[in-house]
């Protein structure tokens, strides 16, 4: 049987596209199609990834300029049909700027780019994206300057009530407190899902946690996505 094909949308300033491509092919056992941002058609609609990086230099606000790309218009259309979509880092920023996900990602509290290893607690294991990850706490690096999740109090409550918060920054043993919050995100939020549960956005980089050792947590993240196809 030929392998399934997963789409990765690439912007001129994407820089995690190669890393994501490798992780997806290797651990989801699929082929990939890189969709250039000005392509209004996305042929392979099984699943779509929006990679990290600095689409259009992240000028104005991270992800803002990317929302106007023809490929993103198509992503928005497909999202309504329930196509699974995952945005990582800049991808998450783009999805919030498109209003496909709630809230906004603004300057880190200390206003500095931050790159470090981080622990992330899986808050909701009942999503199609997370149900196959065995651990409750995973280690994914973060690397961003605008990762502080913000939304209105009402919205935040709705997100919590609907179980839309999927990842939170935590300690190694899953404790969630201020000292483990790298960027000042509301309630340590690191990743959320939309109401229909087909669109996931997260700031940490699972695709960077697949190298050098077989028990890196990114591997189980991508392996766990296989059953979606």
């Amino acid at each position: 049987m030929p392998k399934k094909v997963v789409s990765i949308v690439v912007f001129p300033g994407s820089n995690c596209d190669r890393d994501l491509d490798i992780a997806v092919q290797k651990y989801m056992d699929v082929n990939t199609e890189l969709v250039w941002h000005d392509d209004p058609n996305i042929k392979n609609q099984e699943m779509i990834f929006i990679p990290g990086g600095f689409s259009f230099g992240d000028y104005l606000r991270s992800g803002a300029l990317a929302t106007k790309s023809p490929a993103m218009k198509e992503v928005i259309r497909l999202s309504k049909k329930g196509v699974p979509i995952i945005g990582i880092c800049n991808g998450f920023q783009i999805l919030t700027e498109c209003k496909l996900l709630d809230g906004a990602l603004i300057d880190n509290y200390k206003r500095l780019f931050i790159c470090k290893e981080n622990f992330v607690k899986i808050e909701n294991k009942n999503t199609q994206f997370t149900k196959n990850i065995h651990k409750n706490v995973v280690q994914f690096p973060i690397a961003h300057a605008q990762g502080r999740f913000y939304t209105s109090e009402d919205n935040l409550k709705r997100l919590e009530d609907n179980n839309q918060i999927v990842f939170k920054y935590s300690s190694r043993d899953g404790k969630i407190n201020k000292s483990e919050n790298p960027n000042g995100s509301m309630n340590n939020i690191a990743g959320i899902i939309n109401k229909n549960k087909n669109i996931l956005g997260l700031m940490p980089h699972p695709e960077r946690a697949v190298n050098f050792s077989e028990d890196n947590d990114g591997i189980s993240f991508f392996r766990g996505l296989q059953n979606l196809l």
Partner: protein, 85 residues
């Protein structure tokens, strides 16, 4: 003065954070000002603006509104205001 120049107009779009959003930059600046010994500065807030040169058309303001709300600002976190210069 020629006609083309007449038809060009500049609008300024002001954008600032909505109330209640923590702006660590403004806070840091305030702390620095305090530490410099200026006692009269009570408060400081930050925003950005865009000067947009537009060749007039029927729908100048409509276009500007749309660009401002759709691209230049993010309504979840920011307010905008358009003023003719």
């Amino acid at each position: 003065m020629n006609l083309r120049k007449l038809l060009k107009m500049i609008y300024r779009v002001y954008i600032n954070f909505k109330k209640g959003i923590l702006d660590p930059e403004a806070e840091a600046i305030k702390r620095t000002i305090d530490s410099m010994g200026y006692k009269t500065i009570k408060n400081i807030s930050k925003g950005k603006f865009f000067d947009i040169e537009i060749s007039s058309s029927k729908n100048t303001l409509g276009d500007l509104e749309k660009i401002s709300s759709d691209l230049l600002s993010n309504p979840i976190i920011e307010n905008f205001k358009i003023i003719k210069k």
